[in-house]
Symmetry: D2
Subunit: 346 residues, 4 copies
C-alpha cells in the first residue's frame, strides 16, 4: 500500500483527492492536513465522508509528514509548497504539488504574474510538469511533480495537436475559457456566495490571469515557437467543469478531415482524452466526476481559423484526478488505476 | 460474470444503472434496451459513455432478452413490466422491476392510484418488495423484485425505527418530501424545461401522489397498524437528491436520547443507512452519486412531535443503486459490491 | 416627496428597498446607510445601480438621520433598531423596522428565542405589526412599524382564513417552509457559498427557528386560541422565493368548496393576495420580483386534514415590498403605489 | 392609448413584452396571439399574470388584427412575419418584427443562413433595423421594424465604437458569446430540459450560427469595411442574460485611455448603454430584468488586441425591451417610457 498525505485536504481539490483515493485499491491516506480545521473530524467538515473517513485533521508539517508517508499532495494556495519543500523532504517522499509553485520554469515570470517571491527556486529545474499525456516518461522518474493548472490542462490539450503539427499561428491563439465555481475555492468571500454567482456569468482577470504564462510556456514547448496568447476566464453558475473555446489562425490550407486525423493520431493511445465525433461539441456535463477530457475541433473556412474545444472536470482532470494519474506513474502503477469511474450524469 | 439486460436504459434511472454496472466487477451489460433510440449508439444518447459503451440500443423484447442474460432490469414507465413478464421469463432470469407494477400487494389499490389495469396480477404475491434493509432474506430467494420507489425508500427509512418501535401515531404521519428534477424523467415536457424549473419550487400531486399507498403499506407492515399519511412531494431546482421531512405525534413520553438509541440499534448493521450525529440535518449534497441514505431525528417537546429527516440520491439508493443492491443479494454477492463509491461533492 | 433613509441599505433586503423606491413616484431616498461600506459609492457595492444611484454610503446615525428624512427603514440584524430608536426619533420620523425587534409583544419570548436582551422594550407596545392585510387601520396611525418576517408573512397568509374561521385545530398546525438563499443574507460564510448551496436542499433550525413564536402569536390573534406549531424552514438552491406547505387537522366536516369560499371571502378585497384557482399549486417562479402572495388550499378527505400553500418573493412581500406597502399606509398614499410591477418570469 | 397586438405572446419574448407593456402607461394590449394556446386563458399559460391579464389567447390572423390595433409585435419563429405582412397591413399598423425576417438586407444571405425561402422580399428594403442607438432617426419614420437579434445587439454595442473609429481590423473580430437558456425558447425539447442544461456549459452552432451574418452586416456598416467574424454562442445554466467577450487586433498603437474616451463619447447620450468604470467587467446579474447594456473594454498590450465586453438581458434589451424602445420612437413617445425599471438583483 502506498501511504499518502494530503496538505490542504479541506479545500475542494483536497476533498476530491480524498474521494478518489478512497476508491484507489493501492493507496491508504495517512494524513489529512488542514490549516483551518486542525483537530476537527474530517467528516465534520465534509459530511459526505461520514463513516467513510474517521480521521481528525492534522496540521501542515511537511518535515514530520514525510516520515510517515510515501507521497505528499499539496493542495494549497500558491507559495506554501515552495516554502515547505526541502532536500530532506524530497529524499524521503514523492511530492505532487497542485499549486503553481513549480509549473513555470522562469522564476521571474512566476514572480511577476503571481506577485510573490519564490521560496525555493533551486527545485524548479528538477520539477516535472505533470501533464501525463506529454511528459509521461519524465514523470516516472521525478521526485517533485508540478501538477498542471485546471485551465492550462484543458486549454493545452485542446490546442496541443495543432500546435505540435505547426498548423496554427502561435501568436494568434485566443483562449476563451469558462469554469464552474469550485475553481474559486472554498474561502468565505461575498463574491462567491450563492446569490452572487447564481444566474450570472462574467469574465475576470482579463489579460492578467496567472494561468496565461503557464499555457504559453507549454504551447511554446509543443510548437517550438514562442506562443503569445489571450486568455480570458469566465465564472459560470455551476459547481464543476471547465470549457475551453480556443481560436487560432491556420497557417496553411488544410481540410477539417486532415485536422481530425492529426487529433486522432495525437490522442489514439490516450485513455483520458476523448476526441469526439465530427460535429459533436464538448459539454461539461458529459465529463463531470471523471478524469476525461473531451476534445473536438472545427475549421471555419470563411475566416481561415480553427476553433478548438475542450471540456473536463476542473476538480478531477484539472486537479485531483491528474494528481492521482501522476502518482500512478511515479509508483509504477497502471496509469488509470482508481481513475476509471464513468462521468456522473445528470 | 453475471450477464445483465436493461429495458429502459435511456431514461435517467436506466443510464444510472449503466454507470453503476460499468464499475461492478462481476457484471457485464449485454442488452441496452430502449423504446425511443433503437439502433442508435448508446453513447450518442449519453455522451458521457463515449468510448465506454460501444453498444447499440436494442428493443424491449423480454422473451428474447431472457435467453441472453441472467438478470433483467426494467427501468420503464408503470405498466410495461407487468405486461411483459411471464412464467417463462421468470423461469430463466431474475427480474428487477424499477417501476411500481409489483410494489403494492393489493391490486385494487394499485389500479385506483395508478389508473391502469394490472396486466399480470398473478405475480404480485410472489414479488418481493426490494427494500434490502427490511426484506434482505426474502430477496435472496426471489425471482421477481419490486424495486422500491424513490420517495418511499427515503420516507420509509426515515420513519421505520419509530414505526417499528410503536412510538408514533401511525395516523398522524405527515411526509413533506422534496426531489431534484431527474425524478421527473427525461421526457420532453414544457413543465420540465430548464427555465420552468430553475429558480422555483412547488408542491405537486398534493393528496393524490401515487407513492402514498406504497409508503402507507410499508409503514403498516413495520408498525403492525394501519398507517394513513399525508404525503406531499415538491420539485426542487437541482438534478439529484430527495429530502424527506416527516412529522408524527409521539404516543408516549420519550427523550431524544431514547429515540436516538432506537435509530442506532435499527441501523447499526446497515452499510447504506447513516444515522447522523445529534443536531446534524441531512442534506442531499452529502449523498449525491452514492447509495447512502442519511437519516436523523429531532424531538420537539413543545409540540410532542418528532421530526424525522432523510436524504438520499433519488437515482442511486432511490433507483439504480438499490436495484444493484438487490441484484447482489439475488446472486449471492456481497451486498455492497459495486456500490461503495463515496458521495461526489460539490 | 417623502424623504426616505435606509439603515442597512447594502444587504439584500436593503438593496431591494432601493430598487422598489427608485420606481416609487412619491419617494426620494436621501440616505443610504451601511455599516460595511461607509464612504463607498452605493453603485460600487451593487453594480445594477450604476448610473441610477450616484450616492455614497453613510453610517447608521439614526438621530442625525431623522433630521433629514420623513421615514426610516431599518433593514439590519436583530437588536440594532431597538438600540437606536428613541422618543426623539419617533417624534420626528416614521420608523419601519424590517428586523424582528418589535414583532413579538412578549419581551421574554423575544429574548428567549433570539438570545439577546431587548434594548427598548418601552416601544414594543405601541409598535404595530405591519401585516397590512390584517392591521391596515392600525398601521395608518402608527409611528413604529414592525415589518413582519418573511416566513411569518407567507405562513400566516396561507393559514389565516381557516384560523379565523375556527375550522382547524390550532395545536395541529405544521408549517414546512422552503426559502431561496437570499434569505440567508449577504454575509460571507462558507455555508452560503455557491458550491455549498447549489444542488442541495436541507432543513435547518428544526424546532428552534426564531420565526416560530412570531407565527404562533399572529395565528393566536387570528384564531382566538393558543396556536402551538411545528415550523421547519429549508434552504433551496434559488435566489428568491418562499414556499409554505402547511398542514392542519380539520375540526369539523367541511368540503373543499366551503373552504374555498372562506379563502375567497378573506382575500377578495386584497390586491396582493391571489387566491388561485382550484387545483393550481403556488410556485415561487410566478411571484418573483413582485409583491404578490399566491395562496391555495386542498382538503384531504382520507386524513381529515387540510393542506394550505403559499408562495411569495421573500425580498418583496417578505421584506422590502411589504415595508413600502406599510409606508404607503403611513403616509396616506394608495396602498399599491410603486408596488404593481408584475412578476418577472423566467 | 396605443393599442397593441402581440403575435407569439406565449413564448418567452412574447411574455416579456406583456410584462413590460403592462407597466407602460401609454399602451393597452388588445390581442394576445398564440399558435399553441388558442382559446386558453393567457394567465393559465403564465400564472405570473393571474389577475393581471384576464384575456384569452387568440390566433395569429394579422389581417384581422391590424383592424383593431395600432402596433403589432411579432414574436414568432423565422418565416412567420414575412409570410403574413402585406401592403394592407403596413398601411394600417406599425409592425415590429422580433424575428430575423427583415434584419438582413441581402435576401440570398438570409436564405442561405436560415435555410428558408423569404416570403416577402419586397419589404426588406424599407424595413429599418431597429437598433435605436444607431438608427434612431430612421426608426421614427418607419412602418416596419426589424428588431435586432439578442446576440447581435450585445455583440454590436460592445464593438461599435471601435469599429466606427476604425481602430480594429474588421477581419480579426472574434465574438465569444454566452447566453441564458430562455434564448432557446419554450419548445419542449430534451436538450432544453432542466437536467440537461443544469450544471453544464457548451458551445453550439460553431461557425454556423445564424446571427453571424447579422453581426457582420451591422459591423460592416459601422466600420465602412467588410467585417468577417467568428461568432461562437454558448449555452449557460441560467434563465436570462447574454455576455459577449469579443477580441480584435488593434490596427494602430492606442492607449486604454484613448479607447475609453472613444466609448465614452459614443455612449454618453445613451440612456440604456452603460459604459462601466475602468477595470469593472460586465456581469449579466447586474442588468437582469432591465433594458440596460453594460459595456467595457480592455487593451492587452502583450498581444496588441482589445477585449470588448458586453452584458444585457436577452429578453429585454435583446428582445422585448428593445421592441418597446422602437415602439416609443415610432409613436413619438420618450424613448425610455416604460423601460426604466432598475435591474433586479439577486
Amino acid at each position: 500500500m502506498i501511504r499518502a498525505g494530503i496538505i490542504g485536504s479541506t479545500g475542494y481539490a483536497g476533498q476530491e483527492l480524498v474521494r478518489i483515493l478512497l476508491g484507489h485499491k493501492d493507496v491508504e491516506i495517512k494524513w489529512y492536513g488542514s490549516r483551518s480545521y486542525i483537530d476537527q473530524a474530517y467528516a465534520s467538515v465534509f459530511q459526505n465522508m461520514f463513516q467513510l473517513v474517521p480521521d481528525i485533521c492534522k496540521g501542515e508539517d511537511l518535515e514530520q509528514l514525510c516520515e510517515e508517508v510515501d507521497v505528499v499532495f499539496t493542495a494549497t494556495p500558491q507559495g506554501l509548497c515552495s516554502s515547505l519543500v526541502s532536500e530532506n523532504v524530497l529524499s524521503k517522499v514523492k511530492v505532487i504539488d497542485l499549486s503553481a509553485d513549480f509549473r513555470i520554469k522562469d522564476v521571474d515570470t512566476y514572480e511577476k504574474w503571481y506577485g510573490i517571491k519564490h521560496q525555493s527556486p533551486q527545485f524548479i529545474k528538477e520539477a516535472v510538469y505533470g501533464l501525463c499525456e506529454v511528459n509521461r516518461e519524465k514523470i516516472k522518474k521525478a521526485r517533485l511533480i508540478a501538477n498542471p493548472g485546471c485551465y492550462p490542462t484543458c486549454s493545452f490539450l485542446s490546442i496541443y495537436p495543432l500546435a505540435k503539427a505547426g498548423l496554427i499561428d502561435m501568436k494568434s491563439v485566443i483562449v476563451d475559457a469558462k469554469s464552474g465555481t469550485s475553481g474559486a475555492g472554498r474561502g468565505a468571500k461575498v463574491a462567491n456566495l450563492y446569490c452572487e454567482v447564481n444566474e450570472s456569468i462574467k469574465a475576470y482577470g482579463v489579460a492578467t490571469h496567472r494561468h496565461t504564462p503557464e499555457i504559453e510556456e507549454q504551447l511554446s514547448y509543443a510548437s517550438g515557437q514562442e506562443a503569445v496568447i489571450n486568455f480570458t476566464p469566465h465564472l459560470v453558475p455551476m459547481n464543476r467543469g471547465i470549457l475551453v473555446t480556443a481560436y487560432a489562425n491556420l497557417v496553411k490550407d488544410v481540410t477539417e478531415e486532415e485536422i481530425r486525423k492529426i487529433y486522432e493520431d495525437a490522442y489514439k493511445e490516450e485513455q483520458f482524452v476523448r476526441f469526439l465525433n465530427a460535429g459533436v461539441c464538448p459539454e461539461t456535463r458529459w465529463v463531470e466526476g471523471s478524469n476525461y477530457v473531451d476534445v473536438n475541433v472545427k475549421v471555419d473556412e470563411r475566416t481561415h481559423r480553427v476553433i478548438m474545444m475542450g471540456a473536463m472536470d476542473n476538480l478531477v482532470k484539472g486537479a485531483a484526478g491528474q494528481a492521482v494519474q501522476n502518482m500512478n506513474l511515479l509508483f509504477g502503477l497502471p496509469e488509470t488505476e482508481g481513475l476509471l469511474m464513468p462521468p456522473v450524469f445528470p
